[in-house]
Amino acid sequence: MDADDSRAEVILVVRPIDQDPAEGLRGLLNAMGAAMGSAMESAAHTALDVVSTVAGPPTSAVLDRVVPGVTDAVIQRIDITGLVIGRVDLRAIVMQALDRLDLTEIVLQRVDLRRVVEGALDSIDVTEIVLQRVDLVAVVDAVLDQMDLTELVEQRVDIDALVATVDLEPVIDRLPIVEIAEYVIEQTDLPAIIRQSTGGIAADAIDAVRLRSYATDVATARIIDRLLPRRGRKLDAPGEPESLTGGEQ
């Protein structure tokens, strides 16, 4: 080793701080403090490097011994966290950082979302939360408003199969069968059909004669009433259907 070899070389290596992930604002501040310390240390090393370059190896060797100690002493005497909180516009830094970062991309690449979601679902009772926090009636109403239930049922439900499972007897028990029969008889004029099918010509002839006779009664009465000074006839009588059925007398 010659004389030139006697000079010492100082190699500055900037390393990331090996520290546990920060938690919350305190963690952020600690991280920033550490970053500041690291920056100061890095600046000191840079200054030392500059001095050693300018002043030569001997001076540089001195500085190698002095600067770390001074730096440690300075760092120990400064409340870096307080300094950062008081002097640094953290909001601006964070906002700038967020502006420059694509957080979504980072999360998608770096985070195991499946594990996160599963962990979250394991730790919470989703059903309970939904029951407490969600207006289920409003949700169902909104869903029903958007759906055509009739069409849905027509398309998706086998109505014939459904009806085949229905026990119809209780339904029939509740139906007014007699009234329905009377209704059908009246609407179809079943008695007229029976008269026409069973009475035949004789019944028709009797009905025709009776009707003709009634018309003659009315016409005769009208003629007589015209000859006599009076207004029509009073032909209501007890025994007419209304009184027979217990109605008006």
Binding site: E186, D189, R210, Y214, K234, P238, G239, E242, L244
Partner: protein, 179 residues
């Protein structure tokens, strides 16, 4: 067409309508019958009785012819037949009016004889009316003039003749009026 629910609420429904009666005739059921109808009913009854009397007369003639051949048969006098006819008609109408309220002629013309309360006639009233009708048939002519279509017999015995095409028996009429 009336729906079942509307029909059940009583809309377009006449609870008194007798479905066995043609629709055209339902409106005047229970009204006091007029002269023409009653006259025709009486004519039918009288014709039936006359036929019956003729039948009886013929029957007598045939029986006599069979059992006493060669014997001259005395023809019954017309007055006798008429008297028998009157008697039979009285009996026939009495039974008819006191039981069903109508004779064959009345059934054919769709009329019924009832009391002033709408019930069937009692036997004495039925007998009185039958005898009165046979003895004074012209009493029916008052129905032409009467404002309530009443014959003299109706006025005197307070009876009513109504249109009634239904097949209900007077007994049912009477029981239907019970509370």
């Amino acid at each position: 067409m009336t729906t079942f629910s509307a029909w059940r609420r009583g809309e377009a429904q006449d609870p008194t309508a007798d479905l066995t009666i043609p629709e055209d005739a339902r409106d005047f059921q229970g009204e006091r019958a007029g002269f023409a109808t009653r006259f025709l009913a009486s004519c039918i009854d009288i014709a039936l009785v006359a036929l019956l009397m003729m039948g009886i007369w013929l029957g007598i003639e045939i029986l006599q012819l069979i059992f006493t051949p060669g014997v001259e048969v005395d023809t019954p006098r017309a007055a006798t037949l008429v008297l028998w006819g009157y008697a039979f008609t009285t009996l026939y109408w009495m039974v008819a009016w006191a039981t069903t309220g109508r004779s064959i002629g009345a059934w054919a013309m769709g009329v019924r004889v009832v009391s002033r309360k709408g019930e069937k006639l009692s036997w004495p009233i039925a007998l009185a009316r039958a005898a009165f009708s046979v003895g004074f048939p012209f009493g029916l002519g008052w129905a032409l003039i009467s404002r309530r279509n009443r014959s003299v017999q109706d006025v005197v015995l307070r009876t009513i003749v109504i249109y009634d095409w239904s097949l209900r028996a007077p007994l049912i009429i009477g029981s239907a009026r019970q509370p």
